[in-house]
């Protein structure tokens, strides 16, 4: 196997991995603030891709209408994420974390079923990226891949600024560390968790919009995208959204090499095995401290 082929697998892996990273960052944002693993995270990605497919067709060609369609898609999914949190708030007083996790699972099942009804079972895709590519170290990298990477980078920086340089972000982190203490200084933990869900919806939907033009999207892709995003988040330390993005790239590269050099049938098995290995060897992830495990 020559070097350019390996470079090709790696570059493909990095691109798809960046999207896994966005999904993982969404997981990590919600887990950080509420200790809940949101099983509907994968459905946000699917709905982002499918809604963009419909809206782009609806709004017609041209860059401006495409951007409008994507904006509308992101807004709809963010609204849906807020709605999910509103459903969770209906849980009986004293419900434990487990109930919340199960409700996100139930909502995921319903959303998946709903997506199947609305969009059917075929794969959907749309054209978003300009045609063309550059060659780096023998690997052909499409403009689409470059745009995906650039958007992921911009989103990461934006997320960092939002979490570390704004009052809201500081309030959210305070709440993640100690909700009771945050409450005594006037922060509403429920509002912060709501923002975390909306943020995770935004990240997920964006991932869906970015990945659908190159890899296509079907109503039932949510489960496997959730697994990969979760693995990315675990590699990154679960409570660290930026770690999740790095973790996503790691998982993407492993998957790209596995598919290229071994078998594409097992594409989904690689991240599963990676998850087991990471949990066995370094459960706190690459960037998580030991203290995170103690809970």
């Amino acid at each position: 196997m020559d070097f350019s082929a390996i470079a090709q697998f790696v570059s493909g892996g990095v691109t798809v991995g960046a999207v896994y990273g966005l999904i993982g960052a969404g997981f990590s944002l919600v887990f950080k603030t509420s200790k809940v693993v949101n099983f509907a995270q994968g459905e946000f990605v699917v709905l982002g891709g499918l809604m963009a497919y419909t809206l782009i067709a609806l709004f017609g060609g041209g860059t401006f209408s495409a951007v409008t369609a994507i904006g509308a898609t992101l807004a709809l999914v963010v609204g849906l994420a807020a709605l999910l949190y509103a459903v969770l708030r209906q849980a009986r007083k004293g419900s434990d974390e487990f109930t919340f996790v199960m409700v996100t699972l139930a909502v995921a099942i319903a959303l998946r079923g709903g997506a199947g009804l609305a969009w059917g079972t075929e794969y959907k895709t749309f054209t978003l990226y300009p045609r063309g590519s550059v060659t780096v170290l023998g690997a052909v990298i499409t403009y689409g891949a470059l745009i995906t990477l650039a958007v992921t980078f911009v989103v990461s920086v934006g997320l960092w600024l939002a979490l570390y340089r704004t009052r809201l972000g500081k309030a959210l982190r305070a709440c993640a560390d100690n909700p009771a203490a945050a409450q005594t200084v006037g922060i509403d933990p429920k509002r912060m968790v709501l923002y975390a869900y909306m943020g995770s919806g935004l990240l997920g939907a964006l991932g869906g919009v970015l990945i659908t033009p190159s890899l296509m999207m079907s109503y039932d892709n949510g489960v496997i995208l959730a697994l990969k995003g979760f693995t990315a988040a675990v590699v990154g330390g679960l409570v660290n959204p930026f770690g999740a993005i790095v973790g996503g790239v790691v998982i993407g590269v492993i998957e790209g090499l596995g598919v290229g050099m071994f078998s594409s049938d097992l594409q989904n098995a690689y991240s599963f095995i990676a998850l087991l290995v990471v949990l066995a060897v370094r459960p706190q992830g690459l960037f998580g401290g030991r203290a995170e495990l103690a809970r």
Binding site: V101, I109, A110, G116, D265
Partner: protein, 598 residues
Amino acid sequence: MTLQTLTSRPRALLWLPVLLLGVAPLLWGDAYQLSVWTFILLGLIVVLGLDVLLGFGGQLSLGHGVFVAVGAYSTALLTTKADWSGWLAMPFGMAVAALLALIVGIPTLRLRGYYLAMATLGFPVVLDGVLRHASAWTGGSSGVAGVPRLAFGSFVLKDPAQMYWFVFVVVCVVFLITEQLVRSRFGLALKAVHADEAAASARGIDVARTKVLAFMFSAVLASLSGSLYAHYVQFVAPDTFGISYSIMLIVMLVVGGAGRLWGAVIGTVGMMWLPEMLRFTSTWEPVVYGVTLAIVLLFAPNGIAGLARRRATRSMPAGERTTKADTTLALKQEGCGDGPLLTLEGVSKQFGGVRAVSSLSYKVAPGRVQAIIGPNGAGKSTLLALIAGTLPPSTGEIRLGARRIDALPAHSRARLGIGRTFQHTRLIPGLTVLENVVIGGHAVAADSAAQSEALAAALLTRLDLAGVADAYPSEINHFQRRLTEIAAALAGRPRVLLLDEPGAGLSSLEIGQLVEMLLSLRNDGVSVVLVDHVMSLVMASAQEILVLEHGILIAQGEPTDVVRNEHVRAAYLGRSTLAEAEAQRSPASLRTPQEQAE
């Protein structure tokens, strides 16, 4: 009195739903109904296993269909391609499922959280890839056909009704095994792990092992169901065991009521039979299941079975339970030797830049009450955690008798004889006071259920808790909860009992009772290490006091000497308390002083 009688509700009632399954097809005698009910029974085998895992153990598997597939494919492939007997292929599949559960369970269940759920969520997709990859064997998406029917010698189960009755018998056996399992020592441990992993390991329960075993048990049942499915349908294909099947299993269990076996029965029958009867086969199915699951979780989190009022498990009036068993004998430790019971040498614990405990060395002699005092943040609770194994020491050695224990996990130390209570009482909410104490004896594995229970009952009598033996922890007062936790620790027959602030929040009268109890335990030869701020308790019960400040031992000695120590008074007690503290040496004048260090 045995554990069986203790936790039983009338058996007939429990069995009723299962027996109803036996008559159901007789009521609707056609072939279609017979096949529907056969599938219900096959599903029930899987859901019963999931109930042990999720309902009793609190662990979520979202890919159990894969274990069903393991059984189905083992049977299909081995009987058609290798001419194995179905009776051999079945246990083979179960062994493979157990192994797979072990491989997936160890990394994911070692940790607390939803790692198993997430890992198993991707399970069916991974299986699909593996089946396609190995399509030369597995037939890929077209599956394996021509699986032979089950046969007893030359008697082949040809008639669907024969197969139905055979599966029914299997379900009865599985139900019986599951019912016994959840009442067994293992079942109690599983419930304890579900409720509070730290408390469970302090009682000597190996938390990770318990969870992994429950996962393996559920995987084996799923595989059994898969093998029977393969013989019944005579054909297996990957689509049958996809994500929606695995999710459906969870929906059935949660809707019926996880944590009760008849909840599993109700859920399986309800969710499989009703749609058939209503001829409800719509593309809306997943949406309906998702919404149903959400509604049940939000408004009836314990499922349909949870709507029925929980029957009290009171098997006999509490008054009759005044067992005269002698706890003195049970608690006496033999063969401690002359050396120190517990030895700490140069033990330190560092949290980032903070040294919570700084190269501490001391010994605990057998048969004494030793108190550790010091201002908040002095490292007292950290020290107990280091001895009990909740935290690993950064440096140093800890020995129990001659055995070095500082590298052992908490549950192993509990088994070797380190009993503990927590600063905030940690009892298992779903178990009665008596059961909480029986759990405590779990560490002493040699005891039979009857022995554990006799000791537990005797301990309750001794600590004046016999009257509340059948109450749940939420129904008793703070002092009783403290005592229950102490009884639970004593049931493990500890060589050293570590008590973390047992006096906090107690009235002076209750402190007096606690002192009497500690002194009587000491007379029985139980060694106690007591951390507390309540000086009346410390002065009246301890024979030796250690004073910690900033993780350093600043004084050690007889209580009267220690309270005179200038350093101690400066660091912790304050100057005016000397006379007070000395007065408290006589148990007659027990008072609770202001905690000056606060």
